[in-house]
Amino acid sequence: MEYLLQMVNISKTFGEVKSLHNVNFEVGYNEVVGLLGDNGAGKSTLVKIITGYHRPDPGGQIFWKGQPVDVMTVAKARELGIEVVYQERALADQQSLWRNIFMGRELSNRFGVLDVEGMRRETARLMQSHMGFTSKAITPDSTVKTMSGGERQGVAIVRALYFQAELIILDEPTMGLSLSETRKALDFVNGIKEASKSAIFIDHNIFHVYPVADRIVVLDRGQVKGQFFKDQITLDNLIAKLQHVAQTGRLE
């Protein structure tokens, strides 16, 4: 079976600390993978290897759409269509919505002159079709700081989708959000699925991951301790297993 992203035998050592031990991890086409694990489990190390910030130890291999990727760099990852959505770092607060949507990829002619009207129009269209902003109070010219946490998360996700990201990595998208805001953020994750794209959803809250993920991968102390397809396990069962892992470091 061919995967969108396949990582084989990935290890990462920082000095004396081995943060990942022989990890095998894959993401299928149009699949939302929940990556669960406690602090220090190795989630962020794994993500940083995917996005090219860290190189894995020799011996590991990364495949994208079945093709081996020799060296994953930040530029390479972007070129392949891997986008990370960080909660705090995604948006420029004091700028308008349209400037945020087109951040770093402004529509412009070959002299660098901006197509401001074009960007406003596209933003208005995205707001209606993908973000569900129906309120008249928010326009493409509204500044982002006036929006709620869930809405901002949505802006970042819609931006990634608009620029044809194939794989969107969400780094704790629900952290610090209220219940209704979490609901909104999760709806945007469903939007990724509907757009036929893939996502890795990193969180340590099983109640947020379970409803939107197709498959849940449990990472603990640098190792993959188990994977569960949502249609094969109930939430209660999964919680019981996770508690077992947390206490013993083993799944069975």
Binding site: R78, L91, A92, Q94, Q95, G104, E106, S108, K145
Partner: protein, 340 residues
Amino acid sequence: MNRVGEIEKFSAEIPSETARGKLSRFVRRYAMQIGIVLVGVLVWLLFLIGSPKTFLSFPIYAAYMSTTPFFALMALPLTLVIITGEIDLSFPSIMAFGMTVYALVLVSTGSHILAFIACMAAGLVAGLINGVIVVRIGIPSLVATIGTQFFWRGVVLVITGGNGTGLTSAIGGVLHTGLVGRLFGLIPAQMIWTIIVAILVWFFLNRHRFGAHVYLSGDNVESARLMGVNVPRVKTLVFAIMGVAAAFAGVVVSLEVLYFWPTLGEGYLLSTLSSVFLGGTSVFGGTGTVFGTLVASFIIGAINAGIVAAGLTGFWTQLIYGLIIVMSVSLQTVLSRRLR
């Protein structure tokens, strides 16, 4: 600036829902600009009431248009530097450094045009050096540009030995007429240049990819970088532009008085900085407008004239500019916190 509240109250009386929404959105979006225009009108009215005879005749405005450009020409590009979240305190010395190069080339070649070109190049180099120290070496711009401020002033004093250079030979030449001549015998050419520079800076800030990256670099460096904005290049460029602008302003000032003093630039630090901050540019970076800076420059120019007209000594200017800087940055911060 609490005037904005009044305008919103006023807009509530307009019956049409959409018109009201549009107006209040307009007011909120341009709150800073509306505020600064109101402050400007207020200052002007005060002067008009205080001395109607002076302020209803043309000469006072000719004087404004002649002297305000000296620092407005630098406040406009300084707005870019401050929007990126940096600061430049070295521009007064770069004015003098540029003119030192000007004087050297003038003495050896006799050509004002060549001297001008060399001066612009010197400004560019000085600006680039600021950029490199801040961006590549990673020194906070506040410290770096205090350092280069002293360094360039020192270079000027060492080279000139503290002696000035007469520039009367420029009279009648293209450069003198083009930079500080009088259009129709009335409007100082430097005023036209200020407007040209304002339009250029506005265009690049608001309608060009470069300006978009200026805002993003100052607002959230991390996200700008993650989204592929070349933050080091943007910041280096704004410092370079600032250097060229400072050298240009140095030429304008020197040609206007037909003499290059090695102390050139001293006294422009406060008026330039206060123009930018009074104009609504955030000291934390990320926001600011060219329009605000331009209007604020003329308010600062007017206050300068007002201090003299009110019979206060020049000693008062520092006190008042210092007050303006502290008050405008504090007010902005408090207001933006409340709007949040």
